[in-house]
């Protein structure tokens, strides 16, 4: 033992030197630092108090809205595919004939139209105990019974469907389940019958499922779909980009505070990235939360007669993964790009890093690259086929529109720099834009892309009028409807005409019996066929220019150089013709008929044929009933042109009801001066619906940006009001500030749209045509959006101009 005891070390023990400085913490691994910084950003986003929350909520709401639209867009292929497969599964166009058996049924189309809506109808008649049953039904409806879609049932049960109920009198015994419907709003029915006879338009089937190959999408249509997708999705991407920047000024101030406590510039960028990633990840969740109820809601939507089942709205897995990764990564990149323009200093000061002029050269690159992809295709696409260089066009159009997007900020900046003069409100707006036109340009870029794309599409639409939306040649001014009764209905023209003439709302009817003939000395299979029309004089005058006409007269039409030479035709005075043409409607194939010989009277007069109301040139033999007994014309059909009274509501529906009463195979069609193919109509509708949605989305983004900017300037607004600035001056300034970039954007959109449209037209070998009316319409729509944004911002502007902003305590 030493005699000395050692006391426990106390705080006063140890070296007498001043307290040692704390050891510097070892340098953390870069990955750990990154994770810590990103986590700090996430904490700011989630726990940054009211300010942080506001920014996170704005960002996640904006990103969420964009994500919901993207999810919806990625569901479109499945939506279309599911419709297509259900459509195929329920059809059988009789492409493969089958023998009569226990498992066969007769099947015919009984489609109709009701007050502008198409009603799909099929009439079925089982031929045995085990007939095929279309999807959505458990059994075929019996004679006098119907199975209807829920939408049709609702219509038939309502007062609105009263007239249709008369046309479809069958007892409703079943409702078609979803698997038998294109969508929940489809009007369709299956009717049971025991009156069908095989042949003509009545097929024999032993199964359902379309056996024919689906028609390939025409190249033009494919081109339109590609452009529409690009046009509609790019603004959504622009919107998401803008949403990520929401609340950026406040974020910068927060980062400045971080620098004050020692964060370096790189660290602040990582914190910002963490904050942006958190906001966008929350946005993904918000997007999913919006998408799921929206999906259900879509089941209730009836947009121009088209709806969708919620179950069909299913995004493709690959695209979902792309969105899930792409959106947060994009958000971080956008955030970091946004930080390039500011210097965040430790003294809590955030200054713009000088007003750098935007460079033009790189902004032209995407435009040039896009055109480089499109120009080689200028020689034309093979229309009607799908052998389109899909990716090349998609990439080309996308790059051109991205180029337009990139060019816009440069143009707005250049335009703002050159602006001089104007009132105080204009000066305030112009100066604001000169200082920072990026925010405004970003907001407007979505509109520019949408409008440029819409202009290009409008041009393409206008040009395809002759190609797809062609003139039918029909003359609705001569007759609004045509009722056709096939020979199998066993009804004479006078019976049908009389029934229609008595129909409510019918002004005039022209009935005719139409058959065919060949010269008696020729083989009916390969002889020159002439049409034979039997009708009264009033009707014949609709078909040919003739002077006097009495019952018992016969006429032959002048022959045009394109027709058969006179030496082979039977349509000449004195010729003997065979009225019994082979029966092509027989399911087993062509059947010869016993010849029915008739001599064209020697005194038959030659007249000049007219086109009938359907637009078909009348030719051949025109006879009055006393001259030719229609019972001698096997296979002749009855056509009745109907003029309706515009003053009678639903006159056409009454006509359709009368036609339906004739029999299931009678058809009643409305004559139209133009016809649009269903595919194009659907695409056009989709475009308008999409463009409207996109404009509203962009409008929402602009409102948020404007409000945010106004909030940032609350104090300044109060000060301006304090020294007497008129509120209207500030309101106009907000309007100009929105309007100027939009004007530049719309001008750019018009030029780019016409340019892109010209390229697309050249590609499709269509003549150059600009629909200036539509162009004006689209630009006016963009302009209205500006006004809407300004008007929506006004209440906030008024509120922010209150003197509260001057209070500091």
């Amino acid at each position: 033992m030493t005699g000395a005891t050692s006391a426990p070390a106390g705080p006063l023990d140890g070296p007498s030197a001043p307290e040692a400085a704390p050891e510097a913490a070892p340098e953390a691994h870069w990955l750990r630092r990154w994770v810590a910084d990103l986590a700090m950003g996430a904490r700011f986003a989630l726990g940054g108090g009211r300010e942080g929350w506001t920014r996170t909520v704005l960002t996640s709401a904006g990103v969420g809205l964009g994500v919901a639209v993207l999810l919806l867009a990625t569901s479109v292929p499945h939506m279309l595919g599911a419709r297509e497969s259900r459509d195929q599964a329920r059809e059988n166009h009789g492409a493969t004939e089958t023998e009569k058996s226990d498992r066969s049924a007769l099947y015919t189309y009984t489609d109709t139209e009701y007050r502008g809506s198409d009603v799909r109808g099929r009439t079925l008649q089982p031929e045995g105990s085990d007939p095929p049953v279309p999807p959505g039904l458990s059994e075929l409806p019996g004679p006098g019974e119907m199975a209807v879609s829920p939408a049709l049932k609702e219509l038939l049960d309502s007062a609105d469907g009263e007239l249709l109920r008369e046309r479809l009198p069958g007892r409703i015994t079943a409702t078609i389940a979803d698997e038998g419907l294109l969508d929940p709003v489809e009007l369709t029915y299956y009717a049971g019958s025991d009156q069908l006879t095989h042949g003509g338009a009545v097929f024999r089937v032993d199964k359902f499922a379309e056996v024919s190959e689906p028609a390939p999408i025409p190249a033009l249509l494919l081109l339109l779909i590609i452009v529409i997708c690009v046009v509609l999705l790019l603004p959504v991407a622009a919107f998401v980009g803008a949403a990520v920047r929401f609340g950026g000024d406040r974020r910068d101030r927060r980062l400045a505070a971080l620098r004050l406590v020692g964060a370096d510039s790189r660290m602040t960028k990582r914190v910002a990235a963490g904050e942006a990633a958190t906001g966008s990840l929350l946005g993904l969740a918000v997007g999913a939360a919006i998408f799921l109820p929206l999906r259900q809601l879509l089941g209730e939507v009836n947009l121009w007669g088209i709806g969708t089942f919620p179950a069909d709205v299913r995004p493709s897995a690959g695209l979902v993964v792309l969105i899930a990764f792409g959106v947060p990564v994009g958000a971080v990149l956008v955030s970091l790009l946004a930080l390039r323009g500011v210097i965040i200093e430790p003294l809590g000061v955030v200054r713009n890093a000088g007003v750098r002029r935007r460079r033009l050269w790189w902004r032209l690159l995407p435009l040039v690259a896009g055109l480089a992809l499109l120009v080689p295709l200028l020689d034309g696409l093979e229309t009607g086929q799908t052998s389109v260089e899909t990716y090349q066009i998609a990439a080309g159009v996308t790059l051109v529109l991205i180029g337009v997007n990139a060019l816009l900020p440069w143009l707005v900046e250049s335009a703002a720099r050159r602006l001089r003069g104007g009132g105080l409100s204009v000066q305030l707006a112009v100066r604001r834009l000169q200082l920072d036109s990026g925010t405004a340009s970003r907001a407007v870029s979505g509109i520019t892309v949408a409008v440029a794309g819409a202009v290009a599409l409008q041009m393409l639409f206008s040009a395809v009028v002759d190609d797809q939306q062609r003139h039918t040649g029909q003359s609705p001014e001569r007759a609004e409807m045509l009722v056709t009764v096939p020979a199998t209905a066993q009804l004479s023209e006078p019976e049908v005409t009389a029934g229609l003439a008595e129909t409510r709302g019918v002004k005039q009817v022209f009935g005719q019996t139409t058959g065919y003939a060949v010269r008696a000395d020729q083989n009916p299979d390969d002889g020159a066929v002439d049409s034979v029309t039997v009708a009264d004089c009033a009707t014949l005058r609709e078909l040919a220019k003739m002077g006097s006409c009495e019952n018992g007269d016969v006429f032959v039409t002048e022959r045009s150089p394109q027709e058969e030479p006179e030496s082979v035709t039977g349509a000449k005075p004195g010729a003997e013709v065979n009225l019994a043409m082979p029966d092509y409607s027989r399911p087993e194939g062509k059947q010869q008929r016993e010849p029915v010989l008739w001599k064209v009277p020697e005194d038959a007069r030659t007249v000049k044929g007219r086109t009938d109301p359907m637009g078909v040139a009348s030719e051949g033999i025109l006879a009055t009933p006393a001259a030719l007994d229609v019972s001698r014309m096997p296979g002749a059909s009855v056509d009745v042109y109907v003029r309706t009274d515009d003053g009678v509501a639903d006159a056409k529906e009454f006509v359709r009801n009368t036609a339906a009463a004739v029999g299931p195979t009678a058809t009643a069609i409305s004559l139209k001066a133009t016809s649009t193919t269903a595919q194009f109509r659907a695409v056009e509708r989709g475009l308008y619906a999409g463009a409207t949605g996109i404009l509203l989305l962009i409008g929402a983004s602009m409102v948020v940006s404007t409000l945010e900017q106004l909030r940032e300037r609350k104090r300044l607004l109060s000060v301006l009001v304090a020294f007497g600035t008129r509120r209207s001056t500030l309101a106009w300034s907000v309007l100009w500030q929105t309007a100027l970039p939009v004007l530049v954007g719309l001008a750019l959109a018009a030029v780019a749209g016409v340019g892109l449209g010209t390229v697309l037209l050249r590609m499709s070998a269509l003549p150059f045509a600009v629909d200036w009316g539509n162009l004006a319409g689209v630009t006016v729509l963009g302009g209205l959006l500006v006004v809407l944004v300004a008007v929506v911002s006004m209440p906030a502007l008024w509120r922010l101009m209150r003197p509260d902003g001057l209070r500091t305590e």
């Binding site: 105080l424 000066q427 100066r431 304090a722 020294f723 007497g724 008129r726 001057l806 209070r807």
Partner: protein, 229 residues
Amino acid sequence: MTASTSALLTASGLHKTYGSTPALAGADFVIHPGEVVAVMGPSGSGKSTLLHCLAGIVPPDSGTVHYRGKELSALSDARRSALRRADFGFVFQFGQLVPELTCTENVALPLRLVGVGRKEAESRATRWLERLEIDDVRHHRPGQMSGGQGQRVAIARALVGAPSVIFADEPTGALDSLNGERVMGLLTDAARETRAAVVLVTHESRVAAYSDREVIVRDGRARDMAGAV
């Protein structure tokens, strides 16, 4: 209290409450042409609210403010705005310059608001900038100059319209003492030269020293240290 015939601006019995917080509780005030009055008091005492009521920016809950014999609360919002444009000038502590406008344009702003053409307004603005020795930054934007320069621009803007009353709310609050002194010197000299009255809200005694008279606001009531009120 009745408006004195020589008084430019008088207030009597002003009451103002924000939510449940009383800001003014029967405050009285008077200022004569060319007079510089410092309104002092601790934070939250109601100084700024008194200034806002005097300038017709905020209507009092009760009480009256008379300017040249006219009762402000009887005027419409538009007339009060017109009055502020034509007769009043303002200097605040910060956040008062329009960031996207140049100094000249900021100073010209009040003139443009009363309809003076841009060239004429900017020419008069330039003269004031020269007088306040900041013409070298006339093409700069607020973000490109120091706080002291910014405050001098604000003073030029307050004076350019030849106002009868200048309301200055903590005009040196964001400045260091040297710059604060210079700004106050410029403000009071220019005001006296143009016979403009100055209502100077401050909590700093050295700033109040530039005034002719001091009014202390405490618990929403104003007490004239010279015994005038």
